[in-house]
Assembly symmetry: C2
Homo-oligomer: 163 residues x 2
């Protein structure tokens, strides 16, 4: 049973235990693999973001944020990022986070959800987002410096939330 709630300052250690291994591999997120803890937490928990944690048995196993993807005249479109602890993969947690975030984005008044840079070689994520209702609406050539594969394409993925 997954419980999802807003993150607090008490979650910093748990968040870093997820974010650090996720960015370290340099194959899914833009954040530099060696981004320092405080800089990374400041980004993930920025005032402009709604940041959530997901718990099972009182252990934080995943996190995501929602925020406006653009200011002003683009602020009806949300952006989001999701991370699951490497030890907790394959349990459907990312899917639950994504589905929860779609409802939450609607609740917050957003009309669409856009991912700006899904790494094309992250096929598990691409397939999952498609299963959750997202479409690929763009392909940016060589926009990600994959730490194992070199320059690879990124996808813009999008879902209208029907409001």
């Amino acid at each position: 049973m997954l419980t999802i709630r807003l993150a607090t300052a008490q979650d910093h250690d748990a968040l870093w235990s997820i974010i650090q291994p996720v960015i370290q591999t340099g194959d899914t997120y833009m954040y530099a693999p060696d981004t320092p803890r405080e800089a990374m937490l400041a980004t993930w928990l920025a005032d402009t973001k709604h940041t959530y944690v997901a718990e099972t048995d009182e252990q934080v196993v995943g996190t995501f944020f929602l925020c406006a993807n653009q200011p002003g005249l683009g602020a009806h479109v949300a952006n989001a990022g999701y991370m699951v602890h490497p030890d907790q993969r394959g349990k459907g947690i990312a899917r639950q986070l994504c589905l929860f975030s779609l409802d939450e984005a609607r609740r917050l008044g957003f009309q669409a959800l856009q991912f700006n840079a899904v790494v094309s070689t992250n096929t598990v994520a691409v397939r999952l987002w498609e299963q959750c209702g997202f479409s690929r609406v763009g392909t940016v050539p060589k926009a990600f410096r994959h730490q194992a594969l070199g320059l690879v394409d990124t996808y813009v993925m999008y879902q209208w939330l029907g409001a």
Copy 2:
């Protein structure tokens, strides 16, 4: 004859005389039409940006910025924004700014230049960017709340800089 140089604090009034009418119409930029002067100048001249002004006869007639479009593993791709004073349109200034920015982006070490949200109804800009070498690599449905037309699509436009 257009002279392009880095912007300084002395350019604030001139910059606002360009930015304010450009954002006020709400048909080309995401920035809220009523964004206050200081917030807008702080954004346009942020530490993360290289901001330039273009002068003719010692009058500032246009401005643009260059910055990394993403952190870390996406920082080899630049982002840019251009504005020309409404009274100075039709003179090819935007084209000169764009061509200058392509050279400047290369000089700064960027390998590509990406526009995240070109408003699809801004056909003059779309055509100009295409003439300057950009391709449409994505279309985001209803991502811009056009002040006259309602929700319209935006384009992701992109150019590899060949490095």
